[in-house]
Each structure stands twice: as structure tokens, then as C-alpha cells.
Symmetry: none
Subunit: 254 residues, 2 copies
DNA sequence: TTAAATTTGTGCGTATGTATG
DNA sequence: ACATACATACGCACAAATTTA
């Protein structure tokens, strides 16, 4: 094993851990940098020679790490041009049946939904959209959606309380609103309205999305209703604008 | 029931109507004041304590009303700073028939469209959307839309050249794309696709919209097709996000 | 249009460590 | 102990693609 002359490396990962191959450690570090947003999507990495030198390995070794990340979908390599952090542009279709998982399935991606917090609160600002009396109760969930390990969405969703009081658990279990609603008897639901705006995120929001505060987010405020037209969910989702764009097309005739 | 000591209020709504929550009645009155221009856009409201006293309610009740208006986009609240009337909120509906003028007519506003520049260029980046060969020609118009004297939108639109080569003049004359197209034989057209994203504007764009560079804009890339499904226009519109929000609802069944 | 510079892709040879039989 | 096979790693050289001047 070579002497470590690369002790100043900023990553917490040890590039010279003997239990894994060096190219694997390098891949892990580059992957962590990408997922944490330390290198921006679309950004070009230093060339292979420079990267190999920085990690203190031969260019072949570095290339193995890069190839692994290409296979994982994190990097794009163009001969003669450079190595780029792959842009993650999800086309999020706003239509009657708006589902995160369906939107991603179309692109061959898989989504994860993480429950950050839940609480029971007075309907307050959500009462109108849910057609509830102002002092009814709602369950409010904060969730974060990730694709390919990248945080892409941050949602605050409110559900009417007597009917869907127990939604937090199934959401946490399935990582899916659709499946959680199905478990509580809402077999199907449709998007009745979406309102799109944009603004700069707060510090907390930027942190939660692993994005800089200077990058604007898309804000989608929405209402979902069941087959009978009764509101079952309202809320707003913040989308990282470098990862998601919204697509609006006329619904296919059913 | 409290005696109404606020009889001078111009609103027709009774703040003490028992059929709705008090905060809803207060929200309705504030909304009416804003829509009627009795409080100017950008103006700061009295602080919450003063407002609560004026309506004869607890500050918590008043805050519910304010929150509702924030959610509707009529107010902006900045902690430690005050509550402000939002500059202008246009609900711009994205649907099959997407027309600037129709969108504004719904809100009682009237739009103006200003032709900033026009040129004949190779189809290039617009070729795909217009289904043209790459070296066909297109007419590219830069236009600016204003409402109530406020600049709200900045568009770059491309039209296929043999068919719509002379579109610049009627656009300048009518201040309307719809009427210009009609004059050239395109009696009707529909929006086949809209893609929504956001970013910070360039200096030139910010200047053209009379907005600071720090305020993000909504970017809508679109394709319009005639009744036969042939593309007649593609382009992108930048909306000042403090003035416009996009609304997506299922099209009414025709 | 051409040419130079930059960057990734590929091939060869060599060497080391590990698992297998 | 030895031979074999495989994965890993280093060094050099040149080919191919792309960008830039």
C-alpha cells in the first residue's frame, strides 16, 4: 500500500481504506460530493489527469471510479469534451392523475418519499381547500422526495382528520402517498387544481433540498379530490428547479 | 354580538355574519379592499395588533385571515417588517386554449402586447417544436406584455416562415398574437404543450420587466398548433413571479 | 476552412495481492 | 509449497472526439 500523500482530502471517506478497492473509495467520495450538491448538476469535473493526481492514483484507476458512477447514472462522459455531473431534469406532468411515482416511472427512475414530520393541527389555512370548518383538525405531513438519491421535492400536505387521521404511519411505511391513501380506503384520487409560482427558498428549505439559497424553487399548491369530488389532500410542494420542470399537456381523452 | 363600530368600512360584507368564521369574513373584507385597490399594491398594512383591534378580534383570529390571503397570493408577510399587499397576482391558466387576453379578461384586467423586435432566423433551436427542417426559416418576435401598466411578461416566439412570414406587422398593429394569427388565416389554435421552469433573470430581462435581478421568473416554454395539429408558434415566456402565478386545472369537457 | 490544443478512449506491458485447487 | 486465475493498480503511448483559435 502506498503512503497516503493525500491527507488533505476534504471528504470524510478514507480513500485508502484497505477493505475496499481504491477506485471504489474514489467513486464513493465523488458520489457523496454529487449527492450533497458540492458539485452542481451540469458542472464539468476536472479532467481525468487532474482528478487522478488529486486522488493520488493512476488515470486508469480514476477511470474505473468514473465508469462506476456513469453506470449509476450520476455522471455523463463525452469524449473530447469532459466528464459532467448528470443533469436531473424530471418532467413532472401536472394532469388529472398526478402521481410522483407515475411521473418517474415514465423516465425509468424510482422515487423515494421520506416522512420528515407529522402533526395534528387546526385546519386553519387548509380549511378552504379541504372544504372543512375552520376548527376541524387536519394531519399535516412534511415529506421529502428523492430520485436517484437526489433530493428533488419538499412537500407540506394536509389531510382531513376524522377520515385520514392515521395516514402518517402508512406514508412512512410505504414512502408513497398514493399507497397510503389506498390503505385508508381512498382507492383513487385526482388533481383538481394546481397553482404554480416561484420564489427563493428559505435557508431551511435550501438545506433540506441540498441546494443553494440563490437557486429559486418552483412552488406548486394543489388540491387532490377522491372519486366523489371530496378533497382528500391539499398542500404545497417545493421543487428544486434544476432537477424538475413541470409539464402541462391536455389530458388524453379517457 | 359586538356592536359594529366600523360602520365606515366600505366593504359590503358583514364582518359579523354568523354563517362563516370571523376570520373568513375578515379575509373577505381585506380581499375586497385589495381587489378594489383601496389599499395600494406594495403598501404596508397596519400591524397585526392594530388591525385586530380595528376588527374587534383577537390577534390570532386576524392572523388566520392574513394567512389565508397569503395563501391566495394577495399578501406578503415578512417577520419583523410588516404585512404588504402583493404587487399584482394574475392567475394565468395553462389549458388547451391559452390566451393572454382571455386569461386577463377573467380577472377584469386588460392586456397590452408590445413588439420589441423581430427578425428572420434559421429555425435552429425551434426546428423540433415546429417540426421544420433545421435550415428552414422562422420569424422570431420579442414581445412584452403589460397589465394595468405593469410589465408582467416577456416572450420570445418563433413562427414558421413561409406560412407566417408577415406576422410582425399585425402583431405590432393589434398588440395581440391571437388577432395577428387570425389575420393570417389561423382562425384557431390550441396549446399542445407547456413546460414550466424557473430561474433568475439576466440583467437585460430584469430591466425589461422592471424587476430586480434577485427575483426569480417563471419560464414557460410552449407549442401552439392549429386545428389540424400543425405547429404555428413556439417560444418561451418569462413571467414576473410576483405578478403572475400559473393555474393548471383539468379542461372542461367540451 | 484549417489547425492546434484539450480531453476522453484504448491498447500494451508490468507488477502485486487474493482466492482456489 | 506451488500453479493458476482474477481483480487491482501503475506507466507510457497513441487514437478519436470536441472545442477553440
Amino acid at each position: 500500500m502506498l503512503k497516503d500523500d493525500n491527507a488533505a482530502a476534504p471528504s470524510p471517506l478514507d480513500v485508502n481504506d484497505a477493505t475496499v478497492a481504491r477506485w471504489q473509495a474514489i467513486a464513493a467520495q465523488l458520489r457523496a460530493d454529487i449527492l450533497a450538491g458540492r458539485v452542481a448538476p451540469g458542472e464539468r469535473l476536472p479532467n481525468e489527469t487532474a482528478l487522478a493526481e488529486r486522488f493520488g492514483v493512476n488515470r486508469h484507476t480514476l477511470r474505473q471510479a468514473v465508469q462506476a458512477l456513469v453506470r449509476e447514472g450520476h455522471l455523463n462522459v463525452r469524449q473530447g469534451c469532459g466528464t459532467f455531473v448528470r443533469e436531473l431534469v424530471l418532467d413532472y406532468a401536472l394532469r388529472r392523475r398526478t402521481r410522483l411515482s407515475e411521473n418517474l416511472a415514465r423516465t425509468g427512475e424510482t422515487a423515494g418519499r421520506e416522512l420528515l414530520s407529522h402533526a395534528v393541527l387546526p385546519a386553519g389555512e387548509w380549511a378552504d381547500a379541504l372544504k372543512l370548518p375552520a376548527r376541524a383538525k387536519v394531519v399535516v405531513l412534511e415529506t421529502r422526495s428523492s430520485v436517484r438519491g437526489r433530493r428533488v421535492g419538499l412537500s407540506t400536505a394536509a389531510f382531513p382528520c376524522p377520515r385520514l387521521a392515521d395516514i402518517a404511519a402508512p406514508v412512512a411505511r410505504h414512502g408513497s402517498i398514493t399507497r397510503a391513501l389506498a390503505e385508508l380506503g381512498v382507492a383513487d384520487y385526482t388533481r383538481s387544481r394546481s397553482v404554480v409560482s416561484t420564489r427563493l427558498p428559505t435557508q431551511a428549505e435550501a438545506d433540506a433540498l441540498a441546494r443553494p439559497m440563490s437557486q429559486p424553487v418552483l412552488v406548486v399548491q394543489y388540491v387532490n379530490v377522491d372519486r366523489a369530488g371530496v378533497p382528500v389532500e391539499t398542500g404545497s410542494t417545493l421543487f428544486a428547479a434544476d432537477a424538475v420542470q413541470l409539464v402541462v399537456e391536455p389530458d388524453a381523452l379517457a
